[in-house]
């Protein structure tokens, strides 16, 4: 997908000899564009959920909420983590944790402001049957502290940085796409995001080549798309 996106971006930019993007520039914008779209999933999910509860989304083909959910689920990852020194170190690629379980039991998040109250609660403090976890910087820890086994963590991972890899042609022409390079990385977003990626990269590219018209056209395309979705 990354090669197609790059070609589209370059085609738009070169249409009227507006300029050129180097592979490094493209990779940098591609990373940024992917993160923008990934983070939009969260607000989009909340917005569509509100629409669905207001009965403004239909089932099946009209259910855009399930489309966004499926797009987000692409980043779901399950990991088993062992305790080290009383703590469970978070995976380095974790963006947001969704669920923690211990021996098949759901582990509930305990916020720092409620920790003391809950620990002292005689009715619903964390216990072996209803355990809780606290989240501190780079690690989790369980309550009660008698729990020392592995936890199963389901989380959303951060998308990997896309990288368009290439070989230089001997004739000094445009670099040639090389998907076999060891550091090659395609976009992790689904193919349905191709258009959005092109628009986001064009917005960034327009600023770089000092061509405000490109940014305007891209922003306009984006606005039209948003308007369609909100009807």
């Amino acid at each position: 997908m990354i090669n197609h996106v790059r070609k589209t971006v370059l085609t738009v930019l070169n249409k009227e000899n507006r300029g050129f993007l180097t592979p490094d520039q493209f990779n940098s914008y591609a990373k940024h564009a992917q993160l923008i779209l990934f983070e939009q999933y969260f607000s989009e999910y909340a917005r569509l959920n509100t629409l669905k509860n207001a009965k403004r989304l239909t089932k099946d083909h009209g259910d855009k909420l399930s489309v966004v959910r499926a797009a987000m689920n692409r980043f779901n990852k399950v990991s088993t983590i062992s305790q080290v020194g009383g703590y469970y170190i978070k995976p380095s690629d974790m963006y947001h944790h969704l669920n923690v379980s211990y021996s098949g039991k759901e582990v509930e998040y305990i916020s720092p402001s409620r920790q003391t109250y809950l620990t002292l609660s005689n009715m619903s403090g964390p216990s072996e049957l209803y355990p809780g976890y606290c989240d501190e910087n780079d690690y989790f820890y369980l309550k009660p502290s008698t729990l020392t086994g592995d936890i199963k963590l389901i989380y959303l991972k951060t998308p990997k940085d896309p990288k368009w890899t290439y070989n230089m042609s001997l004739s000094g022409e445009d670099p040639l796409f090389n998907p076999s390079a060891s550091d090659y990385q395609d976009f992790e977003l689904g193919p349905e995001e191709q258009t959005s990626l092109v628009i986001e990269i064009l917005k960034l590219a327009g600023v770089t080549i000092r061509e405000p018209q490109i940014t305007q056209i891209a922003a306009q395309a984006d606005a039209v798309e948003t308007q369609k979705e909100n009807v």
């Binding site: 959920n49 669905k52 509860n53 759901e106 509930e108 305990i110 809950l118 609660s121 009715m123 619903s124 403090g125 964390p126 216990s127 072996e128 049957l129 209803y130 809780g132």
Partner: protein, 287 residues
Amino acid sequence: MGLTDKQYYDNSSNWGSHQFVKLSDIINNFYAFYVGDDKIINDISRYDVVFHAKRGLQELHYDALNDIRALELEVGDDLQTELPKDFVRLVKVSWVDERGRLRPMISDKNTRTADAYLQDDNFDIIFDDQGTAINGTSIIDTRLSGVNDQEGDANDYLNKADEFFGGRYGLDTSSSNANGKYNIDKNSGYIRFSSSINARTVVVEYVTDGLDNLTEAELQVNKLAEDFLYKYIANQVIQYKHNIQEYIVRRFKNESFAAMKNMKIRMMDIHPLDLTQALKGRNKWIK
């Protein structure tokens, strides 16, 4: 899923288990079917649900389950015994006679336990270094321990006075009982008995909240009360959530109330056979 007949009958821990549902299952089901993005309760912490579930279980025990526990204890020379661990409210105290029958006792409303502060010669209260009043031995305790109904003291004028208490207007039925008396000191956590109970075995019947004698995993409730618990938890959660329309709050409250009434009727355990049995004597001639 369900056990086979063999699995059921081979393991005594399974016997009668079908009448109960575990509290942990109720909490899990509540999450699965009452909480979600497309439900009225979109999000709630599990510890909130656990709290309300346990509170609901306590209310059930106080109100409807009629689950009265009984504990058999021997009374020593000190004429007192500790309250049971999961004691919440007393139902009845009896002693066991030679044939194993229960002899119900009555509560002694004329005897009280009292703190007794030490006083100096000027009748001023004596305090320790921390400014706390020092407790001595209660004169009530001293005098009660000196009474012996079974021996010579039976003819003591004070006991006679007790015997004839209310005599002018006939027998005081509220205190007339040949089986002895008891008195509960709720703060200190023990039951004191009249001296006639010395060396006897007593049975304390009491209401519990259903939580203390079991581990969290063992907590369970009769299936006839299951629906009430779901409605109770939902009502409690909705009551304390903000931005819920008042008509929804009222609807949940009404549902919870109706579920409680239904549950109480179900738990009353009245059968037509019991009624016909009781009514068989309706034409009996009284001579």
